[in-house]
Symmetry: C2
């Protein structure tokens, strides 16, 4: 079976889920924590080598503060769950901004994982423009060195991106690593994550004819 | 109705279509010409302001020469159809390479369109790395000036990308302009294009909640 090496996860729909349950929008994020750990474990157990979660972006920080506080806390909690699980953890985002959670500053370089665990990356205070802005400092950019000159250089090329919540867009998720990725959409909101979603995405992926543009 | 200003078209499946008809793979491209003009007219008549077609990439030029010759000829023919129609035409790709068709060299800057016509861009000998490589020459790259410093600076942000041929991936299509685009997939192969595909994509698009990452 054709297993993706690197899976990107866009855990969207937390606010719509909370509203559907009669809760305020900010309550959705905490309900996305267990799904995050489950999704990591499902990928690990399928033989995936690296998982990247879309936490929050610099664009998202313009939302009302009760929401930004809720998703920032959820990201710190998610990071702790993954670190406790033993993942080789990396936080990717603009750490020079006050919106970057200080608890995650030690993880702007990758932590060592425990045996049997895999790489887990979390985008926090991430911006696609922030990611690309170091290209201006690069000596010369060519086909083979773009990825090593962007901020997210320690995040590898994505094979499969799965987005929950029904939207069919990347929303600025790692534009360089997403270039050749296959994109699978789950209509359920992220807090309603089930392992069957992941199974279905992997089943779909194995039939894709991956050519990397050739 | 919520009309996309800029529509990207990935006209995939030409080779699979030809094989399915018992023809050699190279024969698919010429059968994608009329669909291209029809798709341009459909977008124009719906109120779209700009359409970008994915012609061929620097990666594609590694294919057997009977195929590269066929898709290069098809791109020149497609350009002539759009220019004759009166579109404001731009060819986007690495024009310093011998793989760039010399007939299209006059169109590496945009031609003037006729009244009532819209912008039409065709990616020929395009590479996402070629597109980004001028960022290394930029003085300073920030959130607001990335697009004006890439090779495809005269191609605007995409609202809707429609891919024919069933694949759910961008395959290097304008990574910067695709950041916030909604992505619609048609399972039919490109030579089987019908205006109803476009209608369905537009109907789907009008219900999307476009947030541009906010």
């Amino acid at each position: 079976m054709n297993i993706p090496k690197h899976v990107g996860i866009i855990p969207d729909g937390n606010r719509r889920w909370a509203q559907g349950k009669g809760m305020t929008k900010d309550r959705g994020y905490e309900c996305g924590l267990d799904p995050g750990l489950e999704a990591y474990r499902a990928c690990r157990d399928k033989g995936v080598e690296e998982v990247t979660f879309y936490g929050f972006t610099t664009d998202n920080t313009r939302r009302p503060s009760y929401q930004t506080e809720a998703f920032t806390k959820a990201c710190v909690d998610a990071a702790n769950l993954l670190i406790n699980e033993g993942a080789s953890f990396l936080a990717v985002g603009n750490a020079k901004s006050p919106m970057f959670p200080k608890e995650l500053l030690p993880y702007t370089t990758r932590s060592e994982g425990k045996p049997g665990q895999i790489k887990a990356n979390l985008l926090v205070n991430y911006g696609w423009h922030w990611d690309l802005n170091t290209l201006a400092d690069a000596e010369k950019v060519n086909k083979n060195n773009i990825q090593e000159n962007i901020q997210s250089f320690d995040v590898s090329r994505l094979d499969l991106i799965i987005r929950w919540g029904g939207r069919r867009r990347l929303s600025g998720f790692l534009p360089v690593q997403s270039i050749y990725a296959d994109f699978y959409v789950v209509d359920d909101f992220w807090p309603d994550y089930k392992n069957i979603h992941m199974d279905e995405a992997f089943t779909w992926y194995k039939d894709q004819d991956v050519t990397l543009g050739g």
